[in-house]
Symmetry: C2
Subunit: 213 residues, 2 copies
DNA sequence: GTGGTCGGATAGTGCCGCTAGCCAACGGGA
DNA sequence: TCCCGTTGGCTAGCGGCACTATCCGACCAC
């Protein structure tokens, strides 16, 4: 398969594919001569993943490169690779530790994790980017004056834990060992828009039931 | 309160506040003379909301203007205003109806809503932007070759329905009538990053429990 | 009266995700 | 054998977005 066919089958313009190649999101094809390269089904698959991450998952190109770099890093074990890939995902600003809302948010998040017994999350908490983005989001709610503490978050966390168990069950049944890291990344990034949309639909539905249209 | 104080108390630069005033995200202050305007606590509160929507909720400035416009529209009833505000929220591309993945995704989403008995969502489905973004996200998963049908989504939808019930309970206990629309918008937009972060934390935790660190 | 601050306006900046155009080197069909 | 379309590589440019910097003339406190 050459560039034009890769473009046609993926629906991505040749100019954009060239851009992804330049940015290292897509491995170069097998060079046949100075002016021709051959791409395979793996390239097509990866290209579709890249598009999904960027367009549906709203991940910046630079972040996608980093994440996919970890996915492809054969020098590491599966679990580490996955951890590194997910570690690279979060975006968003650093919390300002001088802000009292941030201090309060951090306290509540730590209390939440303690109450849930999420020991892994607690051990990693000073470092984890996910933990940081949770603190930032909670701090925003507190700053707006909404009471938002560990007791309020706990049931939400339990529900998301149920979601996470389903995610991993899905992973175990639908992905072979070889592709598990890639599938895990896709699942983390692409389930989120689905969850968000279901959340909003559920809000609309429940709101209509309680208060009418 | 004048511009400088509004800036100091909100942590937003005067240049940015001027920009928000220009863009209509913030009502002008009470004009004292040609060169001075007076702002009040309401302006401060709104400014913090705007910042939260844009920075934490990642909503584009133009969308925030539209959403807040609906929140402030006194000519409509509360329910309508809220609906209009939430209607304006979603971002993201239009689905390409010629794409077989999109067709399949739409079919599964419709089956899902029928199975759940979410009649409101079904009635609005051809129009609702949330419905569209769900279709786009599901289509991306299908395009990547993941089996993803109504039966798989249903338990996720039920869980998000439980989340939505909590959201509305929270709204009923923590917001007065007057500020309910504003609170509802804040809740929809700002709970999402919290949920997303909890989701990823739960994934990390569950993954560590199943497979070790 | 004069220095500092105000609101208002305009132009510019930096980043991001492409996109367009050029080039010389092939290579498959007539 | 010729020739024209396509290729990979390269560089430059574009359009949108969220600010940001600067200037200006008006004003007010001292």
């Amino acid at each position: 398969m050459r560039l034009a066919e890769l473009s046609e089958r993926s629906g991505v313009s040749t100019a954009t594919i060239k851009y992804y190649l330049r940015e290292g999101l897509l491995a170069p094809g097998r060079q046949i001569n100075t002016t021709t390269a051959e791409y395979d089904e793996g390239h097509l698959r990866r290209l579709r993943l890249v598009r999904a991450l960027i367009q549906v998952g709203r991940i910046p190109v630079a972040t996608a490169r980093e994440v996919l770099g970890h996915v492809d890093d054969d020098s590491l074990g599966r679990t580490i690779r996955l951890g590194a890939a997910l570690w690279a995902l979060p975006q968003g600003a650093e919390p300002d530790e001088a802000d009292p809302a941030v201090v309060a948010a951090r306290r509540e998040v730590d209390r939440l994790l303690a109450g849930l017994g999420w020991e892994t999350a607690r051990e990693l908490s000073p470092l984890s980017p996910v933990h940081r983005s949770l603190v930032v989001a909670v701090a925003a709610l507190i700053r707006l004056g909404y009471p938002w503490d560990a007791e309020l978050m706990a049931p939400y966390a339990e529900l998301m834990h149920q979601v996470a168990r389903r995610d991993l069950d899905y992973l175990e049944t639908h992905a072979s060992d070889a592709e598990r890291v890639e599938t895990a990344v896709a699942a983390t990034v692409l389930f989120e828009p689905v969850l968000t949309a279901l959340h909003r639909l559920a809000q609309e539905e429940e709101s209509a039931r309680r208060y009418g249209l």
